[in-house]
Symmetry: D2
């Protein structure tokens, strides 16, 4: 899978994303990140996410750098670039773009686990190929 | 159980409870309500809440009237008055008091269910007696 | 404005809406309610919501009855029926429908205020007419 | 300020912190981080946080590594180690400890800004000294 592949999902900053500083609260950005990953996995790949029958995806690392604050009503593009790090681990590099300007950068890393043992497991080949073929 | 019995739990309005209007977002109050109910059930009654081994508590109704806005850093008292409506249903009347003034009134009604069938079930007598004896 | 007028907004139950009972947390439903009201006000009426230049909308009451639990990935229709109670107060009756079945009923009541005095004020006629003409 | 200085705040994982995987949702950890920072700043230092009269604290970077999942009802210690990176920037290294085991590691970096210009500004000496003297 090429690092250049990007998927873009439009979001709106809602009142509950904001805080008393008049900007989006720093943890709200992970809502935008989650929405984009869920939409990629379910709508583009047809994978039940993050809970599938035989495997779950769990987040093992999250990161965000806030360059410009987002405000109530902002229309933002969440740009997602998935990278298969191993058969068990996928990294999503994420940018938020508002009116052509990058406001936020971050990433989320997830592992696939067996929900019965809670141990990391390799994704089935058909799922992995779907992600690699993006 | 007398309607006069009340339990009081202190909370602080945190930055993530607020929104761009500079006040606590209306849905955040349910966080204060939930905290108070969880503390009553776990700390005062020793009941795993809302997930116990053989029964779960699920919320079937919620209500709040916002008389005065709460702000960042406000120290509030969440006053909880539980009422056993039946062996399956408990109602918690809730007030929020800030510096002697009632700012918020509401209630949460919960039913006990069997998590295997997701049907309402009567609480075990020992649990029910704990609640009634409050 | 006729009580029969309804607006429908599609939502998806996301992982962060759910809790350890495997269902949408009861306070998450107010996120669905808020989204629908914000979309009605901004997209259909062109009103900056809930923060406009000369007036703000603040929530004064919220209510929800949970008939059937919602689960991760559920596609739901949030059905909104606004009612002008006075020049200062609007009530939104709300239902959530999943695959033709009503799962949730509730309402949100909001007042318009002057953000400088934090007192209730009448909405400007042009705004009020927009809402009444829905 | 020595890197060894640590402040510990006790938290409980609440039902609304969890998701349908039965564990704390990854963004909920930032609630634990925020609580600890707010308590340090307000209770230990007497600083209005994150909104003071002449300066605000805004988050410019956040990071978390999830080693072990947290579950409903877990009693956790949030261990906070503040570092003054400059007169404008403070970093909080954070660990979560459950029953002696480190489950989570992360950090939050904040800048002080002038809320009128939204530009980074140096903290007043008395505030800075309070933090350095921790």
């Amino acid at each position: 899978m090429s690092a250049q592949i990007e998927f873009v999902f439009r979001e709106t900053v809602r009142i509950y994303d904001t805080d008393a500083q008049g900007i989006a609260h720093y943890a709200s950005y992970y809502r935008f990140f989650t929405n984009a990953i869920e939409k990629l996995m379910t709508e583009k790949l047809g994978i039940n996410y993050p809970i599938s029958d035989n495997f779950w995806f769990v987040i093992v690392e999250s990161h965000a750098v806030y360059k410009k604050p987002l405000k109530l009503g902002d229309e933002i593009d969440v740009v997602l670039s998935p990278k298969v790090l191993s058969k068990k681990v996928i990294r999503f590099d994420i940018s938020i773009i508002r009116k052509g300007e990058k406001t936020t950068e971050g990433y989320v890393i997830q592992a696939s686990i067996d929900p019965k043992t809670w141990k990391a497991i390799e994704l089935p080949d058909d799922i992995l190929n779907k992600i690699i073929s993006l």
